[in-house]
């Protein structure tokens, strides 16, 4: 058993260093908290903590003066993964969410912005659980390099709450502040990686096809979205891998999301949807035989949000993986 674990970790270390499992897609599905492309070989559980702060307002690509609205999101994700075969992995993601806004951003018809501090509020609870499968359909190992392509398919279930209200109980919070989406959504993606010695490059893309669900007292549909990332990773220690030696990786990624407008009772919301792109440096530590830890900072470098919306200032992600 010890040998199996050791081999698994070595394989993971090798995989991370050579085939570059990226810090993929942590921008994915903001309201669902799913990172389906972050996968390992073997089986285990991963716990992720993600903090996101929105304290800026954007009109298209331009940042405009924020009248005082602020949103914060804490997401704790439990991800279990299990390799059915060498090429097929199953994942289940269970998010716990805590959301908070200190004021609601209101856009007047004339374009003026106002922060409604009477609409502060937040919710805590189970988010939308997702089940995913990953199938590696192409592997090419040569002496110098490894290339891997995999397909991802998943379903996100409406297990999260959608009835959260403001602190005074007068109004429902906006749909993106709820812990769930109220809808069953489908995930489809591709994952690729190329590795050469201690350097690796990974690229992932994930599409989310949404359906309509209930949010508060409305029928709500989040827009379909595409998440993507390109991540380069370098093993800074050790020079030569061995199953018992801790490994340190530095990573630098470009990731983002493009999302269509949301619909409420069938009507598209002008101030929803758009694109955000991040630069994401990260560091990852593998501690044999069972532990992997990582921390990542995501800094938005481009916003193009439809209408007028709150935009993200940054997000911070920390994760620990335990291998069975």
């Amino acid at each position: 058993m010890k040998k199996t674990i050791s081999s698994a970790l070595y394989a993971i270390g090798f995989f991370m260093s050579l085939t570059g499992v990226g810090f993929a897609c942590d921008f994915c599905l903001l309201s669902q908290g799913v990172s389906p492309l972050e996968t390992f070989r073997g089986s285990g559980i991963r716990i992720n903590e993600r903090y996101t702060r929105l304290n800026s307002v954007y009109k298209g690509t331009d940042e405009v003066t924020n009248p005082g609205a602020k949103e914060e999101y804490w997401t704790t994700e439990f991800t279990g993964f299990y390799s059915v075969t060498e090429d097929i992995m199953l994942l289940a993601v269970l998010p716990l969410k805590n959301t908070r806004q200190n004021a609601h951003l209101h856009v007047h018809e004339d374009g003026d912005l106002e922060a409604h501090s009477d609409m502060k509020g937040g919710v805590t609870g189970l988010g939308d659980v997702a089940a995913l499968g990953r199938y590696t359909f192409f592997k090419n190992h040569t002496l110098d390099a490894t290339t891997i392509l995999a397909g991802v398919f998943g379903v996100k279930f409406p297990t999260g709450g959608t009835g959260g209200k403001t602190d005074d109980g007068a109004e429902y919070l906006d749909s993106h502040l709820q812990t769930g989406t109220g809808s069953t959504d489908f995930l489809l993606g591709l994952s690729s990686s190329y590795a050469l010695a201690r350097f690796s490059l990974s690229a992932n893309i994930l599409a989310a096809l949404t359906t309509e669900g209930e949010a508060g007292d409305t029928r709500h549909r989040f827009g379909n979205s595409i998440n993507y990332d390109v991540t380069a990773m370098y093993r800074v220690h050790p020079f030569e891998l061995a199953p018992t030696i801790s490994q340190v990786f530095l990573a630098f990624g470009l990731n983002g999301e493009t999302r269509q407008r949301e619909k409420e009772n069938g009507v598209a919301l002008a101030d929803s949807g758009g694109s955000t792109i991040y630069l994401s440096p990260a560091i990852r530590l593998a501690l044999p035989p069972r532990w992997i830890a990582e921390i990542q900072y995501q800094h938005p470098i481009y916003h193009n949000l439809y209408g007028v919306q709150m935009g993200e200032d940054y997000r911070l992600v920390g994760g620990v993986t335990y291998l069975f």
């Binding site: 081999s7 002496l143 995999a150 489809l188 591709l190 379909n224 891998l241």
Partner: protein, 184 residues
Amino acid sequence: MPKILAAIATVALLSVFPASASHGMDKALLSKAGLQEMRQKAPDFSLKMDGRTISLADCAGKVAILHFWATWCKPCMEEFPLFEKMLQGLKDKDAVFLPVSIDAKATQEEIDAFAKRLGASFPVYLARPGNITDRYWTWGVPVTYFIDKKGWIVGRAMGPGDWAGPEILNLIEGLLKESKTLEH
């Protein structure tokens, strides 16, 4: 957006068809043995020992097991008894085992003594001063390559393996049965 989604769906559908076999041997044997499948002509190499040079040409017509290890690698040590056991089953067969130490400072005498202490009766080789680590991936140890009779690398094991287990022995038997003139 719909075009992109259609493209993703197409690729996903295509993905249900597994990659075709890239060489003559049974891929299941590789998979069961925990090896990465490879299809690459083995690069030539030279290993020196007791004034003698061993190269890939010396392995022609034989199944070659090229194993990289190091004295500082604890799991590598645990593998020596397993390799010893594996080789007991390969006596008088067309198979050659080349355990190559990637140690930067150890001498031949030191690795000989090291292997002997671990119960190995097989010879061990130093990668230096030859060219083998330039030509084979050795960024991590242990790593083990399986080369068929015709000089093709068919698989690679990353990390420690159960070298005396039936899966490995079945793989080697499969490689031994392969025709020397197998077309790749």
